[in-house]
Amino acid sequence: MPYSAEISRNNPTCLLFLIDQSKSMASPIGGGGQKKSEVVADAINRLLQTLVLSCARTEGIRNYFHVGVIGYGATVGPALGGALAGQTLVPLSAVADNPLRIEERVKQVPDGAGGLVSQAIKFPVWFEPVANGLTPMCEALALAWMAVNDFIVRIPTCYPPLIVNITDGEASDGDPEENAAMVRQLASDDGHVLLFNMHVSSKAERPIEFPDNPDLLPDAWSRMLFRMSSKLPPRVLATAAREGYPVNEDSIGFMFNADAVAVIRFLDIGTRVDAKNLRG
């Protein structure tokens, strides 16, 4: 059965994020004052932190995942900075050990006696918001194809890699549908590579989350993103259902008009891995 491989240190999988860094990403996200680029950067940093913490064990970080971020705007290429600069996919332990900086944030936690206390929480930053240039999505997908193809050649038994593309507009360098199809045709022994797409918008409209029917989408562009996206594999489908989304077997890894909350939830649901599927 596809999409059932256990994820282990010997059989890791990969997560690759494609982030639109075009000029329009500097405008505010729907229903909020924060720039789209900042909301997305914050969500990516939060996701990387969660992923690292979920793979932290007594002896250190277990490399269940190889992770990468590709930015596309004025330039197209790997977007993690510092010691990770220039690398498309890196083992999670390298991510863990090389944030650009660590911010301190304050969180309220239970004090064990029925009250709350403030606790300083470390918030590592790997990825900075950028908004500059056009939207060369086709090129970003081509780069993703190369990186993920390399990964699958090295680890052919892996749980299929997941690519999440986050964008606010149409591709400026051609029709991305063909490159998206090529990416989804890549496969490990456990199934085809997954491509999810998330559209962030400046319009304050209700997000359309995990749709199962393109006819419900408002325009040709959103229907194209729908066609570019993979169906939810069983584990993601189960997570989305648990979280209360009305999903079914035809639901697609796609969100349209995502707001700040939807961005975080989409990334969380798409990448969450149950400990029982991590094999050691």
Partner: protein, 252 residues
């Protein structure tokens, strides 16, 4: 040796989760046959130093001289301090600091077997549990008692856990279940962590006697090797979840 001359026999077997080394096993078991106290704990794999936490819990429980079992305030606080002292400064990375702030977590089950003549009436056993570590009492080749879970369908992904930080210790009494029962010569108590406990109950539901398998493995000339092969075989047939497995036999 018990005061009445009877011997409590204890045998233990453990196998780590497939893909892990024995050192990475986060289960712990401790026995104090003299005091009649036994405990098993299963450290949650998503926390750091949870194997250490499981070890501290079981060792402290079997050494505890207090006749009452559930005394969280006296028993748990010193252990939480001990865990903190043993893990502080172990790593300076942001993620270790974050994980250590959250603390380690473990399921726990402790049992005390009463010595004959301690009080009027027949001897008893008393146990308490947080989470899904299992106790089975087998008498005359029949399952006499299962605690705290009694059906294989009751195992879930989010058992109650004991935390190494005070903040994670809220509502402990609501998470705790206790049990007691009569104790007879030749009773056998089986303590095991959740994956094997689920298999054990499944076998009982199929009208099988899973303790016979476990006894045969314990009597093998190489029990560890035989147990390892047997567990791997069950995992390959998907009859046993891939998890750390610990089982202890306590024969009265």
């Amino acid at each position: 040796m018990r005061p009445d001359g009877a011997v409590i026999e204890v045998n233990v077997l453990a196998v780590p989760k497939r893909g892990n080394t024995p050192a990475e096993c986060e289960d712990a078991f401790a026995a104090n046959a003299e005091k009649g106290r036994f405990a098993i704990a299963d450290g949650a794999s998503q926390s750091m130093f949870s194997g250490l936490w499981a070890r501290l819990l079981v060792d402290a429980f079997v050494a505890n001289p207090h006749p009452q079992l559930v005394l969280f305030h006296e028993w748990l606080l010193p252990l939480q301090e001990d865990w903190d002292a043993k893990t502080t400064g172990k790593s300076s990375s942001w993620y270790a600091q974050t994980k250590l702030q959250e603390g380690a977590f473990a399921t726990f089950l402790g049992i005390a077997l009463e010595k004959p003549g301690t009080r009027v009436g027949r001897p008893q056993w008393r146990a308490f549990a947080i989470g899904d570590a299992c106790l089975f009492q087998v008498r005359k080749d029949k399952l006499a008692r299962a605690f705290p879970l009694t059906k294989s369908a009751e195992f879930g992904n989010t058992p109650w856990l004991l935390g190494s930080r005070a903040a994670a210790s809220e509502n402990l009494l609501q998470k705790t279940t206790s049990a007691s029962g009569r104790l007879r010569r030749k009773d056998c108590f089986w303590l095991m962590t959740d994956a094997l406990g689920q298999w054990f109950l499944q076998e009982c539901e199929r009208q099988n006697k899973p303790w016979n398998h476990l006894e045969a493995l314990l009597r093998d000339s190489n029990p560890d090797g035989a147990f390892g092969r047997w567990v791997e075989d069950l995992r390959n047939r998907e009859e046993l979840r891939n998890d750390d497995v610990t089982v202890a036999e306590i024969r009265v």
